[in-house]
């Protein structure tokens, strides 16, 4: 039997681990790279800012871009206040009781539900039962249900990581609990909360299934006028032009994918930089 020296074992182990790391990075680089390579030529100001023409076979993708912005902003307006408020309640006020354990369990499980289930749930509750129709508001509500658990769990984590001693000092000087949360805990937890918010909204920006039945339009000749109108959106538009429209120029498909990926990547980079800012700022 050949006995390897410890140094050889070490070298082999590191090579295997290193290869595994490279192997996971390669598909991402290849996907993003090939899309950018094939899509870059299609992207121009015209492509970004014009309405689609010829049954979407030429022209731009402006209504899909603006639709996604509407959906992200609307989802943020609903999910950020609710998510942060819930996180504050769970981290600062709730005692460990049967009910809070149930709430936590629900949040963890909500985060694991497939997105198409959210879409069908939104169709049942918002579109049909509450009679909001297939609309921006129904889509935002549906996306919010999907986003809120992400925001709650990251925000709660961020709030809990603020040292207990800060709270005790503040209360010990005569601040109320709310003043303590508002003036001590929230500012310290803010970067962590922001990271969660961005990641949550990022998911909302990229998902197709939740908006499929609740607010996304196949094609609209004009921009939506109110929150009760349907809207086009980037991920659904990409699905449509890739599978539903015959004789679709491939450059437009790649161009749309490039725009969507850029949108999502930008938000991810933003989240990453907020996180590193948080690490630098944290001194305790």
């Amino acid at each position: 039997m050949i006995r390897l020296s410890r140094h050889h074992t070490e070298r082999i182990a590191f090579s295997v681990i290193g290869l595994a790391a490279v192997a996971t990075a390669v598909p991402i680089i290849v996907i993003v790279g090939s899309i950018f390579f094939s899509g870059a030529e299609a992207v121009s100001w015209q492509f970004l800012l014009e309405m689609p023409r010829d049954g979407m076979r030429s022209g731009g993708i402006w209504p899909a871009i603006i639709g996604t912005v509407y959906l992200v902003v609307g989802t943020g307006l609903i999910s950020i206040p609710l998510g942060i408020a819930s996180a504050i309640y769970l981290s600062e006020y709730a005692t460990d009781s049967y009910w809070t354990r149930m709430i936590r369990l629900a949040i963890v499980n909500l985060a694991g539900i497939p997105s198409v289930v959210y879409g069908l749930f939104g169709l049942g509750l918002f579109v049909l039962f509450l009679d909001l129709g297939s609309s921006i508001v129904a889509a935002c509500l549906t996306l919010s249900i999907m986003t809120i658990p992400v925001i709650i769990s990251t925000a709660e984590e961020a709030l809990r990581s603020v040292p207990q001693s800060f709270r005790v000092v503040s209360v010990g000087m005569g601040a109320t609990r709310w003043q303590t949360i508002r003036r001590v805990v929230l500012p310290q937890a803010l970067p962590g909360i922001l990271t969660g918010v961005i990641l949550g909204l990022n998911r909302a920006a990229g998902e197709t299934a939740p908006i499929l039945f609740t607010g996304a339009a196949f094609f609209l000749p004009k921009l939506p006028n109110s929150i009760f109108d349907q809207t086009m959106a980037l991920p659904y538009h990409l699905f449509v032009i890739s599978t539903q429209v015959p004789e679709m120029p491939i450059t437009i498909q790649y161009g749309t994918a490039t725009v969507l990926i850029t949108f999502v990547l930008t938000m991810n980079i933003l989240a990453a930089s907020v996180r590193s800012w948080q690490r630098r700022k944290r001194e305790w």
Binding site: V171, M173, G174, R183, W284
Partner: protein, 253 residues
């Protein structure tokens, strides 16, 4: 405050769940005196200290009986605003725990939150507090520097300045020097002596010499009871109980 009795504690009992931490503690704290509380770990002296500004209220499953009267008012009476009480009775902790902010923001925290002072008044109050905490001369060049860049001893004096900024009458100190080196400890002890001019001070300490050096009265806690309370010189020279003598001379504890 004048000649009033500051704290009058009678028959105080305190429980964590089913465990009794304090038994029938009766004690009077006089204004502008330094009262030291000594005793072995777990004897209830810190618990007692935290009853004095109701910090124990924040712990769930605790119970209290007896009375603590501060300047004629029972602080556990239902009409008492415990936030106002905590402003009046400040607490300095064992480990220096400044916020990760500038020196100025640390001291200004209380006045800002409680709405005590703004603008120039706030500046003035911060400077006064830093002076009173004997930190001003060391940091006056740069109030914007981060509090955590100070030495531990300076951080502890900063924490004292932070408490002084909300204009308390009484300052409670829970082993304020246990994390500090002898020089920093000495500075805090000198500061405590100076603070006595304006404030009533109750200090919990593990350090016999410290109690002997700084305090006017000393109380000896043993298994949740205050078994001896007297002038500090009496406690350290001719205590009436054998247990006290054994403890202060270092024979146990």
């Amino acid at each position: 405050m004048s000649d009033e009795i500051t704290f009058q504690i009678e028959q105080l009992n305190f429980y964590y769940g089913n465990t009794q931490a304090l038994r029938d503690v009766t004690l009077t704290v006089l204004p502008r005196e330094i009262t030291a509380l000594i005793g072995p770990s777990g004897c209830g002296k810190s618990t007692f200290l935290r009853c004095l500004n109701r910090m124990n209220d924040t712990i769930t499953d605790t119970r209290i009986s007896g009375s603590i009267v501060l300047n004629g008012q029972n602080i556990y009476a239902p009409n008492i605003d415990e936030t106002e009480l905590r402003r009046q009775v400040g607490l300095v902790f064992q480990r220096p725990n400044p916020f990760p902010q500038s020196i100025f923001d640390n001291v200004a925290f209380g006045p800002r939150v409680l709405g005590i002072a703004y603008g120039n008044d706030l500046q003035e109050l911060v400077v006064q507090s830093l002076r009173a905490a004997a930190l001003w001369d060391e940091i006056k060049e740069d109030l914007k520097q981060p509090a955590l860049s100070l030495s531990l001893g300076q951080q502890q004096r900063l924490c004292i300045a932070r408490v002084l900024a909300v204009t308390p009458d009484v300052i409670l100190m829970d082993e304020p020097c246990s994390a500090l080196d002898p020089i920093a400890t000495n500075q805090i002890e000198e500061l405590i002596q100076e603070l006595k001019e304006h404030y009533t001070i109750v200090i919990v300490t593990h350090n016999m010499q410290q109690a002997a050096r700084v305090s006017d009265k000393t109380g000896f806690f043993w298994l949740g009871e205050l078994i001896e309370f007297d002038e500090t010189t009496t406690i350290f020279t001719r205590p009436s109980l054998q247990q006290t003598e054994d403890y202060v001379t270092g024979r146990f504890g």
